[in-house]
Symmetry: C2
Subunit: 248 residues, 2 copies
DNA sequence: AGCGCCTGTTACGATCTGTCACAAAATCGC
DNA sequence: GCGATTTTGTGACAGATCGTAACAGGCGCT
């Protein structure tokens, strides 16, 4: 059901050593080192690393490639709760079961650690607990943004937000070429839209000159500022007044 | 701005000691103890404890009452990212700034800790780091469910899911009376709907006999199973087969 | 090079939710 | 207690997005 196109080839050449700069800042990256000891596994596009509902026994780090986290509702509706790229760690916050299926979008290489081992190491090394917490806090923040997107943004704003967030996650994405390794269906299921709506919006953004297609799975952001305005980036804010919430 | 009003007097007699049973299970609750040392502050309905965009200097625990976390977009659109009830801790995962305004819905009593102090205590006591992490992981899980709700559920399913989740958070909520301290507008902004749609759906659920109004800010769940079916509870699952995610 | 499949695009009617208007009910303040 | 304000409920209508369907184009395979 998932035929793979040659997409993969387009992804790799510029792929960084495993982490984007943003991920590295202000961290000692010991989790990074922990995973670095593990062997690398490979997944073809469409292959799953774990399935929704299975007992959660591992934690993963994506080395290169791209993955999606998919949740299927009882009646078949599909939601993608996130995309994973090089350097991302997934599984940190899981309880007993995997809440999503985690599948490769492009050819992907990853490393795994058993949760047991992971927890042991976190307990052993004092720096790892906080780092794990930090990563989860970042994930939480991104998920909150996704809630805002889904609750109150229209289709055009959703797509604009999505393209920008992808651009930010890719080295030189702003103003440059942004790779879209996922299908339109993936984008739709991530943005709470249909595939047709995503397609129409992409066409409209192209007509407006905000983006330009670069093959089917990449775009060039031509007017980043306009796109950002559309995306309703809520600048975190002009609310600069120091009204203290009263000191206890 | 925070009139230390005489609210404390209104302190509800039947209020539990500050935590629902569910919150307590499997935890040593040392964070609980940490907050217990702090003085109690009171908020009137509509009063904010912190404002979106302000520097995040405190962590809070709700003692009694109910609060909402509100994010306002640049053009005024409003999103409620969550509701807080007795025992809930908020601020654990914040970075530099508060991402939301946190306001009282009902008369509320809470305790606060400076982030500095909070971090110091977490660093000092080995049990606190994991407990903090656990709480954040629970929050993450709830937010993921909210993403699914917003991405793929229709209005009726959203309201049903909401009512059930509230019922679960309230002692004896299943089958009993569920308090809805928030306004219809709050519900709408939480569920990504309009106030009119929420109102219509509530009416429809009442006509269907699934719920019965109990005053304007409470309902009785008459057919919990039917409501659960509507809410698309995706049972986490019948996917019981032990297909290993390929052992390395 | 030619063929076939899959993904993506475009069109159009259907549907759900939003918008606007207004009435009823509850709450607040004096 | 009483009027004013806020909140909630309801209906008619509009609009955005969906769902179906037909078509186009790229890519892999032979």
């Amino acid at each position: 059901m998932y035929t793979q196109s040659s997409l993969s080839r387009r992804l790799s050449p510029q792929a960084p050593s495993g982490l984007f700069a943003k991920e590295l800042l202000g961290r000692d990256c010991s989790l990074e080192k922990l995973f670095a000891e593990q062997p690398v596994e490979s997944l073809d596009p469409g292959e799953a690393a774990v399935w929704q509902g299975d007992r959660a026994q591992h934690v993963f780090q994506v080395v290169t490639g791209a993955m999606r986290t998919v949740r299927i509702l009882s009646d078949g509706r599909r939601v993608i709760t996130g995309f994973l790229f090089a350097g991302d760690i997934v599984g940190i916050s899981f309880r007993d079961r995997y809440p999503t299926t985690i599948e490769a979008i492009a050819p992907t290489r990853l490393r795994r650690l058993t949760r047991q081992r992971f927890e042991d190491e976190v307990a052993r090394h004092p720096g790892l607990g906080p780092e794990r917490f930090e990563r989860l806090a970042d994930e939480m923040s991104a998920t909150q943004d996704q809630v805002v997107l889904l609750a109150r943004k229209n289709a055009e704003e959703r797509v604009a937000s999505f393209l920008l967030s992808l651009a930010r996650r890719q080295p030189g994405g702003d103003e440059g070429t942004v790779e879209l390794p996922m299908t339109r269906l993936d984008m739709a299921d991530y943005l709470g839209l249909t595939i047709e709506t995503v397609s129409r919006i992409m066409t409209r953004l192209t007509r407006n000159g905000m983006i330009a297609p670069a093959g089917r799975h990449a775009i060039v952001v031509r007017r980043p500022a306009a796109l950002a305005a559309l995306a309703l980036e809520d600048d975190e804010d002009e609310i600069d007044d120091e009204r203290l919430a009263r000191a206890a």
